[in-house]
């Protein structure tokens, strides 16, 4: 019943029953407490601040913005989580999605195809580029033993340079008329992913890509819990030597997982590209891959947990401006996000330890009862 800290951290050890509920509750209470103290210390009323956040978050337009940004975060966190499941730390989601979005935007902007095909090809290109870029780190690991942490961080930097080289008017970019911005040629309507007016009371549309993200979460669940591949992957993550002994080709698994993680990362930029900006320009959002790491930890690699984490993160990100408008430093939001991640880690660890101690007590009680019983018989 022993488990390493990492196993517990990455949600590979399940908590059952009431304890499973206790951990997130404890985390929320703890995070709320710490944030309140910080707000109080910086001279802002905690209760009013929270109310302000809640009121703003409940407005129809804000809800749409929260869902849309969460869609992006969700895919990013899933991409990270795929690696986490077998102890692969793909820090390179950031570079993978940026490069994938750039190339996909260029292809999508150049193509003339009927609507569903156009979207499909663009997405396929993104997935392929993301997977390919991640496979470099995978190959380096299986052939040369290079730590994927190091190689993916470096590949992020290379992706930045490579992307900047591609995004010039000599290559993939066109000047945005009259602006200092440059971007890829806008994707025509046939290649755009339609949104829908899900939330009443606002004209803002929810990204159609939210459906794709949900399907991706479902696929993630099925892959890891219902397939041979998923079993092999989890087994390799838990104990490499045991996996080897039972006939798993670990090298193949490492490469495949890395490619899979990169392919998912390729989709990270798609909600924004196909649902909002239709072009990859200088101000395309960056750093989503790093947010994904935090959210994967927050969601404990569980598809539902990640969804909740992504929504929470997106809510906080979107609310920062209302704080700024009311004269409360918006950096409070970053502190909240950090506190929540730490709270979740600490809370789960505490509950795990409590369970372990309770179990040990129970076992020792049973043992002592078992030991005394025969004596009684003998006497």
């Amino acid at each position: 019943m022993s488990s390493s800290f990492t196993d517990r951290l990455l949600g590979r050890v399940r908590l059952g029953g009431l304890l499973g509920l206790a951990a997130p509750l404890l985390a929320i209470v703890f995070a709320g407490l710490v944030t309140s103290i910080i707000l109080q210390l910086t001279g802002n009323p905690p209760f009013e601040t929270m109310k302000l956040l809640a009121d703003y978050g409940a407005q129809p337009r804000t809800i749409v913005m929260i869902i849309n940004l969460a869609t992006t975060y969700y895919i990013s966190a899933l991409a990270v989580a795929i690696g986490f499941r077998m102890n692969l730390f793909n820090i390179g989601v950031d570079g993978q999605y940026r490069l994938a979005a750039l190339v996909a935007a260029a292809v999508g902007g150049a193509l003339v195809l009927p609507a569903p095909l156009h979207v499909g090809v663009t997405i396929l290109v993104a997935v392929a580029v993301g997977g390919l870029w991640a496979s470099i780190a995978g190959l380096l690991k299986v052939t040369r033993g290079v730590s994927e942490v190091i190689s993916t961080i470096m590949l992020n930097a290379i992706a930045t340079g490579f992307g900047a080289w591609l995004l010039t008017t000599d290559r993939l970019a066109v000047a945005v008329s009259g602006s200092n911005n440059i971007g890829t040629k806008p994707i025509p309507p046939s290649g755009q992913f339609p949104g829908f007016g899900l939330i009443p009371g606002t004209q803002a549309k929810v990204f159609g890509f939210v459906v794709v993200a949900a399907l991706l979460g479902l696929a993630y669940h099925i892959l890891f819990n219902w397939t041979r591949f998923g079993f092999d992957l989890r087994a390799t993550g838990k104990s490499e030597s045991a996996a080897v002994a039972s006939g798993v080709n670990v090298r193949k698994m490492v490469l495949l997982t890395m490619v899979l993680s990169g392919a998912a990362a390729g989709l990270v930029g798609m909600p924004q590209l196909l649902g909002a900006s239709y072009s990859y320009s200088l101000d395309f959002p960056t750093g989503l891959g790093f947010t994904g790491i935090a959210i994967a930890l927050l969601g404990r690699n569980n598809p539902v947990g990640i969804a909740i984490g992504a929504l929470l993160w997106s809510f906080l990100d979107n609310s920062s401006d209302i704080l700024d408008l009311e004269g409360i430093p918006k950096e409070i939001v970053i502190i909240m996000q950090g506190t929540i991640v730490l709270s979740v880690i600490v809370a789960y660890e505490l509950v795990h330890r409590y369970r372990l101690a309770a179990e040990q007590r129970r076992v020792s009680r049973e043992l002592s009862a078992g030991a005394s019983a025969p004596e009684g018989v003998a006497a």
Binding site: T286, G327, P329
Partner: protein
């Protein structure tokens, strides 16, 4: 096994922490400054209408960069006192945010009754088009961008013309016929500075040697806010024989000045008159600055709003309009000032055309 996991985890956590630190650094504590309405102003001058409530949205960095954003802030400060503004609100972008978040920032300002709303930087281009359409009665202005709309004023600059003059100054002053240019981020906007500088230098000395270096490439905009990188880049140029370096690198420029001081070389400032605004210790090495009068543009726009004469479309701040210029603070360019003024007149009259790319 546990050890390797732990170290990997440590790396991940460290990355996260660094990321958060970066994000935290991105915001300055002065954001969200709220100035209460000077209620007494209506009493003091009974006829004067209550001034406007002005909203200002910065891109990443905000106040405190001693350069571009600070210049915009200076224009607002001036307007605050001279135009008796009823209130101001400054909001600032976060790192890596989406266009939707930029839109929402402008929308919040417009919704909050702030009129006019000024967007600082081309990153607001798409956002301002959408939000301006939603609030037809609010006046919007955007700096460095030509986004079109019936209620959008564009405050654009001819950075290439101002840079031409400081390029000529560098070529006139250099003793080694070797000068340098440090750009913050390799984007079209900064390219305009480089092109103007190069043309200006070559107009004086056709075969002058010019080192060009950009600190970062998009989407990494850290080059506008990284003095250490600026210092290293400039040091390399001085070491290889350059004696004057022009920086168009926002907050990284401070590093260029430090390198100039260490190498006993000279440097050229940007946007503001940096011989007055840079750290006191390095002011002596700043022989001139390319002035991009964002403060004037912001103030002019706010004044036109107060006068009810706002016009949509582009207002170009070039040499002719006095929107860009070179500074003579410190007297280091006094000996060549006549020549520079000559070039200035030629550009104004159209005898010299400075390309922008």
């Amino acid at each position: 096994m546990l050890r390797t996991h732990a170290s990997k985890l440590a790396a991940t956590t460290a990355m996260g922490a660094m990321l958060m630190a970066v994000a935290a650094c991105g915001g300055s504590s002065s954001s969200g400054t709220d100035t209460a309405a000077p209620s007494a102003s209506s009493a003091s001058s009974a006829a004067a209408p209550t001034g406007a409530k002005v909203g200002l949205a910065y891109d990443i960095g905000g106040r405190g960069d001693q350069s571009f954003n600070d210049a915009a802030a200076a224009g607002l400060e001036k307007a605050k006192t001279e135009l008796k503004l009823a209130g101001t609100k400054e909001l600032e972008a976060g790192a890596g945010e989406t266009g939707a978040q930029k839109e929402q920032r402008l929308r919040l300002l417009a919704q909050g009754g702030y009129n006019p709303v000024v967007a600082v930087g081309f990153a607001y281009s798409e956002a301002i088009k959408k939000v301006a359409a939603e609030f037809p009665d609010t006046k919007f202005a955007i700096i460095d961008d030509a986004a079109q709309g019936p209620n959008i004023s564009n405050l654009v600059f001819a950075e290439n013309e101002g840079s031409f003059l400081v390029g000529a100054a560098a070529a006139l002053k250099t003793k080694k016929d070797h000068i340098g240019f440090v750009g913050g981020v390799q984007v079209p906007l900064i390219k305009k500075f480089e092109v103007g500088y190069t043309r200006g230098a070559q107009a004086v000395k056709p075969d002058i040697k010019i080192d060009v270096k950009y600190l970062t490439q998009p989407p990494d905009f850290g080059g506008f806010n990284d003095p250490a990188k600026g210092k290293t880049a400039a040091q390399g140029m001085y070491d290889s024989g350059a004696d004057i370096v022009y920086q168009a690198a926002g907050g990284s420029g401070g590093g260029v000045f430090e390198a100039a001081k260490a190498a006993k070389g000279l440097a050229i400032g940007v946007d503001s008159d940096q011989a007055l605004t840079a750290d006191a210790g390095v002011r002596a090495v700043i022989m001139t600055s390319m002035l991009k009068k964002v403060d004037v543009a912001v103030f002019d726009f706010l004044k036109s709003f107060a006068d009810g004469t706002v016009k949509a479309g582009a207002t170009t701040y070039d040499l002719k309009a006095g929107g860009v210029d070179f500074s003579a603070t410190g007297g280091q360019v006094d000996d060549i000032k006549n020549k520079l003024d000559e070039y200035k007149q030629k550009i104004i009259s159209g005898d010299i055309k400075v390309p922008s790319e």
